[in-house]
């Protein structure tokens, strides 16, 4: 049984499918990189796995000890957050929100978990700083620490390096690679195919339908890869 198994899945919004016929699974310890062009349905697929968008057709099964909402999500930053008065600690702490249930306040277990993850992401010294004054890379590490509070099993990252400079991007990929090596299962949506290929164990290529799913090492031999790279080359020519 896999963590997540998608069977003949169609995803989209307002009843209209943008990607159909998706069949793949994510197992414990995997690092899946979802690639595809803009508007190809990869973000919608991710939102469907996170229960943010309704399934159009088919099914998603959660198993192997993973509860349907036990997912650490690193969303793209919203405009609201750029002006939001919140400290690093407050934000990381909110990763524990679902554990509260009917309790109104956080307990020692949640505070310890937040502290542990802030130290792990090397932002503990920034804990009382305001989120909006941090650099792009620091902000991503804060949101990553929050995601780690929400799940110890599965991380879902939505274009996590967009807007980061090359050095910070490299550091960030390194961090994800390390988390994956420590046993964290990772699903990353990215348009940056080359970086994805280097660290990922599996690739899912979506462009309206499933063009490729399998091991990352065999992806470069596939037809899908040639299509993607040729598109990139023609874009580069212009």
């Amino acid at each position: 049984m896999a963590f997540i198994k998608c069977i003949d899945l169609s995803v989209g919004y307002e009843g209209k499918a943008v990607a159909e016929g998706l069949n793949f699974e994510v197992n414990e310890g995997d690092y899946l990189c979802i690639v595809g062009e803009n508007g190809a349905g990869k973000s919608t697929l991710m939102k469907t796995m996170l229960h943010l968008t309704k399934i159009i057709a088919g099914d998603i099964e959660y198993g192997d000890g993973l509860k349907p909402y036990e997912i650490g999500y690193l969303p793209q930053q919203t405009i609201t957050q750029q002006d939001f008065p919140a400290s690093v600690k407050e934000i990381v702490m909110s990763g524990n929100l679902s554990k509260l249930g009917l309790r109104p306040f956080y307990g020692k277990a949640e505070r310890d978990e937040a502290k542990r993850n802030m130290k792990r992401m090397d932002i503990y010294d920034l804990r009382n700083k305001s989120f909006k004054n941090l650099s792009g890379g620091q902000k991503q590490r804060v949101l990553l620490a929050r995601a780690l509070c929400a799940s110890t099993k599965l991380l879902v990252l939505d274009e996590p390096v967009s807007g980061l400079d090359p050095k910070v991007t490299a550091d960030f990929y390194q961090l994800i690679k390390k988390l994956n090596a420590e046993g964290m299962t990772v699903i990353m949506v990215s348009h940056d195919i080359h970086e994805g290929l280097r660290d990922a164990t599996h690739i899912l290529h979506v462009t309206g339908k499933q063009l490729y799913f399998g091991e990352a090492s065999k992806y470069t031999d596939s037809e899908a890869y040639k299509i993607l790279t040729s598109v990139e080359l023609t874009k580069g020519d212009k």
């Binding site: 996170l50 650490g72 999500y73 929100l97 879902v156």
Partner: protein, 278 residues
């Protein structure tokens, strides 16, 4: 002047008015940050017009306490506006504009046609801009305001962490299994309650100011959610106290005096922020 104030405070109805005023100000400041950051300010504005219409209906029905009519109507409107804003079919802001002006028109019409009062324009004016003096509030209204303010403050404290979660990042909250929709609904209902409460203090046209100014001022000074919330509550209470006292001493309209105090504090905070970051 202090003597005069002391003399006023001898009367129990004056003391009650001051206490209720402060409680309403405290309530209205709590959700300001959420309202501003979730882009819900317009809902607050729309609802205050609905509350005006509801109040007109309540006053022609001659119920003992108008709050009993305005409260449920405004809460229903809040829920409808929130749901409307989420569905893409009818644009949220257009729907709110429609409901706002319709409520204003119906409210004014009803007050004119059915009013038995000799001074219709006076009634309309006090609904829009608050009682000319907070001291004219009736005992029953004071009690209802008191109880509801306490309820709002208690609900806010109990749901503080959840309100922060859905305000800062609704998608993340949803993805981790937090029922964001339910909390959005809760926020909308609290806003409706606050608006109906605040109408007694500053009137339906000025209530948005009572909600938004303290939060905006606090956001200039503070950088964490908790400190902004606390600062905004303090600013709101101080301004309300100041406004009430000034309005009693100089017989100015209570609502506008409080809002002027809020505005002045905002300007000071704005300047402090600019000087600090410059």
């Amino acid at each position: 002047m202090l003597l005069q104030l002391h003399e006023y405070l001898q009367y129990s109805f004056v003391r009650y008015a001051v206490i209720v005023g402060v409680l309403i100000a405290l309530c209205s400041s709590l959700l300001g940050v959420t309202l501003v950051l979730k882009r819900y300010s317009f809902i607050g504005d729309g609802l205050s017009h609905v509350a005006f219409g509801a109040l007109a209906i309540a006053s022609i029905m001659k119920v003992t306490s108008t709050t009993l009519v305005t409260m449920p109507l405004t809460i229903i409107a809040a829920i409808l506006l929130l749901k409307g804003g989420q569905s893409a079919k009818l644009k949220g802001d257009a729907a709110i504009a429609m409901i706002s002006v319709a409520s204003l028109a119906i409210g004014y019409m009803l007050m004119n046609v059915f009013s038995t009062s000799a001074n219709v324009s006076g009634d309309v004016c006090s609904t829009l801009f608050g009682s000319t003096s907070i001291l004219t509030l009736r005992q029953s209204e004071v009690m209802i305001c008191f109880v509801l303010s306490i309820v709002v403050i208690a609900v806010f404290i109990v749901f503080y962490n959840k309100i922060f979660g859905v305000t800062f990042d609704e998608s993340f909250a949803k993805a981790t299994g937090v029922r964001a929709g339910a909390y959005n609904l809760l926020i909308a209902v609290i806003i409706a309650v606050i608006i109906v409460l605040g109408m007694n203090l500053v009137g339906s046209l000025l209530i948005s100011a009572l909600i938004i100014f303290p939060a905006l001022s606090a956001m200039r000074l503070m950088r964490t959610f908790k400190s902004v919330t606390i600062t905004s509550a303090i600013i709101s209470v101080v301004c309300a106290l100041l406004g009430i006292v000034v309005s009693i001493l100089y017989s100015t309209p209570t609502g506008s005096t409080i809002v002027c105090a809020d505005m002045a504090v905002f300007l000071v905070c704005y300047v402090i922020d600019r000087v600090r970051t410059a």
